[in-house]
Symmetry: C2
Subunit: 101 residues, 2 copies
């Protein structure tokens, strides 16, 4: 059973290519976190919002990551952090070609 974590927050940037350069090391470190299968990095420069969608092997891994990541974002000065963990409905997701294997 897979778990999905969705995180989003308000931030002043960087966005786009600057974001890609500024957070490459962080992205690499995320591959080392327990239970992370993948992350999609999300951004909305106009709304000044960003975040991520993650797939995890277990609910516990997702919960531990959210705690760690929320503390890290707070240390960056980011507030208004919204994090939610959901179970993935496998049967319905597979109908819609979801990347959950």
């Amino acid at each position: 059973m897979k778990y999905l974590l969705q995180v989003d927050f308000i931030m002043d940037g960087p966005f786009g290519e600057e974001m890609s350069k500024g957070f490459a090391d962080l992205a690499n470190s995320i591959n080392e976190e327990p239970g992370v299968i993948w992350k999609i990095w999300t951004e909305d420069a106009a709304a000044k919002e960003a975040g991520g969608i993650y797939l995890f092997e277990t609910k516990e891994d997702a919960e531990k990551y959210l705690d760690m990541h929320s503390a890290r974002l707070t240390s960056f000065g980011i507030t208004n952090i919204r994090g939610k963990i959901f179970e993935v409905n496998k049967a319905l997701s597979l109908i819609n070609n979801a990347p959950i294997k």
Copy 2:
């Protein structure tokens, strides 16, 4: 450039296997919607919440889908619908093995 739509809302169910059976026809219809690449169906029976994470080909496709889907959910009696559209940061997402191709 790909766009991510995240939707979640409060609902009384069904969850789990009943959800899989009850919404299979809806899931199949979603494959016919313009620009949908995939959908991950999300659920949290304990919190009585559910939703979906979608990848779209264009921002316009995501916006049109969110309008249609919000109206459909409202017709089901669902309130507290939260829908957000983000641009995907491709370079960072590919570092984290994201399924965005």
